[in-house]
Amino acid sequence: MSKFQFPESILSRPVYGTLAPRPGKSHLMIADAEGAEALLELADRDENLMANSHIIYLPKDTGETYVDRLRAAGPNQLYVGPSFAAATQRIRHVLGQAHMGLQVYLTGTEGLIGQAMNEATAVGIPHTAIQTEHRGSVARRMQCVHCKGITEDVTTDPFVCSHCGLNLFVRDHYSRRLAAFQGVCIDAEDPGNVPDPVELYS
């Protein structure tokens, strides 16, 4: 099962819903890994949806698991790519050419949803008009508040900043602009006293 019920948290922490088909001239769907399951369920709920849809899909460690099924769902365009960075130019191009009536659906990990949301809001789509559904890993995209470097796919608390090497604890405080949670030095007041890392939400 790829769904995870996040516990209630502070108000800057994003909350995710369940994707639902909405009327629109065209549909842009951006997903990674198990997010494919949410798109397949979406396709099941409205048989006409996929004919006007462009899917941008990053399988990550799910490999080929969902690719054939996504293709079989009959999207107008399907792109399967290796990373968000690789797909970014395509996403910008599609958003830049979009017309009124575009619906945006984002699903998968929080890092994917956050970065794709940034691209969509950058072209003027209000973040409240974008549907999101979390699926798969609860890994987080973290910004080190000290060096500003982003560490992708953080699964433990605390973790080591991949840029400056400080030991950071994982906060729920979230910046849409950075598409990242905030990581803060855990041993500033007692250098070297770093608790053993625990899996997030374990």
Binding site: H146, R171, S175, A188
Partner: protein, 355 residues
């Protein structure tokens, strides 16, 4: 009066000091012997002569040294001053408000001469003279918000207003109580306050937002907020927390009177005329425990407030570990006598310490 500007530092050797004048006018934030969050807003229409509330933008003996400290912070980390693209006009509004207010309130220190859009600004304490064209960014050495807030004490958040909400879309933040402009820029009022405990559940932020959305031009408001800081460090930023955090553990019963500072924010709120943005200056005042307790009423009251503060607040404000040492120190200044209502020192009417 003419202000004698201190030559002092807010880092390294921490030579910051408050004169007797600065101690007596300190904005003590507790109007009674206990503290809980409230929407403690009032009109910002002056105050008693000589108090920090008298002028629109208070200038005190720390001005020149604080501005030097700000320049050092910005050299180290230019991201402390940012403005999203739609906020430039609000930056000009801010520049105008501060230049007009300071030149009117402190004519011996600041002058502003305006001939249409040709402006001439003189800042005597900092030795700055600038001729520029109002609303033409190319005629200033940097953006208008950065230009004027490099010459004004306190942090400045500039809040855009849309969709019945305030958005933190620009700011100059180098004297903050542990929050990051670079992280929070672009957030709405509830989001940037998200980490504050208890206050959301109490409805504080909903009521505060309602009040702030309705602030009108020419009718600014103000409130006080407070926290604790070890050493007179202005830049208690999350960015540098891995460097300054250790200082919180380096106090002893012998040094606490000099090292532990009450940190008070005089927050004011101004509607800006062209942009309809809300300017939110957050002015930081620091006072060492050993200076604050020279005012008998404040010594008694601070002890009681810190002693009875809910644990969540002491944790959030970052002094839970030091609270026992603070209470040991402060208890010498609490003889159990009652205190008069209100924040003022009441030096002539309050009894001396009986201990």
């Amino acid at each position: 009066m003419t202000i004698q500007f201190n030559e002092e530092t807010f880092r390294d050797d921490y030579s910051f000091r408050n004169s007797d004048w600065a101690i007596k006018r300190f904005p003590f934030p507790f109007h009674e012997d206990s503290y809980m969050y409230s929407v403690n807003m009032e009109q910002h229409r002056g105050g008693p002569a000589g108090s920090v509330y008298e002028k629109r933008f208070d200038v005190d003996e720390h001005y020149v040294s604080e501005m030097r400290d700000r320049a050092l912070v910005l050299d180290d980390d230019p991201l402390r001053c940012q403005s999203l693209p739609h906020m430039t006009l609000a930056g000009w509004d801010t520049l105008e408000l501060i230049m007009v207010s300071k030149s009117e309130d402190y004519p011996d220190l600041f002058e502003l001469h305006r001939d249409g859009d040709q402006w001439h600004w003189i800042n005597r304490p900092m030795g700055i003279e600038q001729k520029f064209t109002f609303l033409d960014e190319t005629t200033l050495p940097c953006g208008p918000l950065e230009y004027i807030t490099r010459q004004a004490q306190g942090d400045f958040a500039v809040l855009d207003q849309r969709d019945e909400m305030l958005w933190m879309d620009a700011g100059m933040v180098t004297t903050q109580a542990d929050w990051s402009l670079d992280f929070d820029i672009g957030m709405n009022f509830f989001e940037w306050h998200a980490p504050v405990p208890l206050a959301h559940e109490m409805g504080i932020f909903k009521r505060a937002l309602k009040f702030l959305l309705n602030i009108q031009q020419g009718a600014p408001a103000r409130r006080l907020n407070w926290t604790m800081t070890v050493n007179p460090l202005l830049d208690t930023s999350p960015e540098n927390y891995h460097k300054w955090g250790i200082q919180k553990t380096q106090m002893t019963p012998e040094t606490i009177g000099a090292k532990q500072h009450l940190r008070v924010e005089l927050q004011t709120f101004y509607r800006l005329p062209r942009s309809n943005a809300l300017l939110f200056p957050i002015r930081c005042y620091l006072i060492a425990f050993q200076d604050l307790t020279t005012i008998p009423k404040w010594g008694r009251r601070l002890h009681r407030v810190i002693r009875d503060l809910p644990e969540e607040l002491a944790t959030y404000k970052g002094f839970i570990d030091n609270r026992p040492m603070m209470l040991d120190y402060l208890s010498q200044f609490d003889d159990g006598q009652p205190t008069s209502p209100g924040i003022w020192p009441d030096l002539t009417s309050e009894p001396a310490l009986k201990k």
